[in-house]
């Protein structure tokens, strides 16, 4: 079953859509789209390095970084990146939202959705598609064991995360 697959290799980044050039003087917001091609129905991808790279390229030293996945059957959240724990995350979400549960979204009598992905929607809704974090010294502020994780709940697909960095000037 896809949800229990141990495969966790990071999805290939395809391209980085450039929507804005670097901020001049660190006073303008900066945005990029990071995208991935996922390979499994359920897949967790560590996107920390990718987000930090975008933050560094922005030239913005301090402020807020906002991440938003534009897909309802995905999520962006924080957790430790450890193989055994990632297995538990998938088991937990698999048990919490059963794939087969008489969902109306999967029932042709009520729904025209052919993907039968009610579980994917409910998992995405619970975990959230939007995450706001602090930028400090040109890095995302994260604890030692915190990684930013993108969760695919209905792959394989091409997925985008919109990254926006809002600069702030620190007091001296």
């Amino acid at each position: 079953m896809g949800i229990r697959q141990p495969k966790l290799a990071e999805a290939e980044p395809t391209s980085e859509n450039v929507s804005q050039p670097a901020a001049a003087g660190g006073l303008r917001i900066f945005s990029r789209i990071a995208d991935w091609i996922t390979s499994d129905r359920i897949q967790l991808i560590n996107i920390t390095d990718r987000i930090n790279e975008i933050v560094r390229r922005s030239g913005i030293h301090d402020g807020l970084v906002h991440l938003q996945s534009l897909h309802t059957t995905t999520a962006v959240f924080i957790n430790e990146w450890q193989d055994a724990l990632l297995h538990d995350v998938r088991s937990f979400l698999d048990e919490l939202v059963r794939r087969e549960n008489g969902w109306r979204h999967n029932d042709p009598q009520y729904s025209d959705c052919e993907r039968k992905n009610a579980d994917s929607h409910l998992r995405g809704m619970l975990m959230g598609q939007s995450l706001c974090l602090q930028v400090r010294n040109s890095n995302v502020l994260l604890g030692t064991w915190q990684s930013i994780i993108f969760a695919e709940f209905d792959g394989p697909r091409t997925r985008q995360v919109h990254v926006q960095i809002d600069p702030g000037e620190r007091g001296t």
Copy 2:
């Protein structure tokens, strides 16, 4: 049972409390209160158009929009707006947090709460009352299938969502 009621008609907007005039030059934060009178104990309301209208009236082209419901027995989150799926969302939350479960908050021996709404609190806590999204080209950045949903978990009541838009200037 309230939670399974199929009624999903959008609640009537009552008024829009004007807390601030439009931002001058797009460089000042702008805030409004959007409110609704809900009609059921559990009710999902698509507030996307209402939020987009506030964003457009702000005159702010790019930045962040922050939504916050000031009620602990409500939530604001993102999902697809499809009837069959909304039914599943209600069933899922109904099963995840049972209304009757020996909650202390509902027990006069421990609590002076007469609404017996422990389930409403726990659902609101899980789904969250605060949501931050990007503003692009005078619109909330959302995927094709993403809607902003306000969830009433203890209606009927009058409910408010505070909307604040923080402008950013884009690099050229």
Copy 3:
């Protein structure tokens, strides 16, 4: 069992690490670290007053305040601060994520984690470690019954919440 302990006394604040002086003119971001020593494995702490005190000291009148716990086995969220309800919150999370459930993260065959805290990670992931709220008139915007709650899921430990306030200027 720790999770059902009625003890809820606020943990002792230890110190407030000063990372930045007060913003001059309300136009610079302001940040502080608030920390606590927790005393139980599962503990809920009302941090509302502490956060409001930081907001007031920042000199920032309007804007956004961002809270982030740097620990994966904690969470920051909103709920009503009522003893009976807090008991229900702990019961609910205890039942939703069982401590003993054959988690791989706790199994020496798969994991080098000696804390056997898979449940703590899963609870922290579900509830979230990051929270963004509006600042109005030098206070965090909160409803009458909303408190900001820090949840310890793997104490006792010293825990930090990074608080950043981003100023905005209101239209006149």
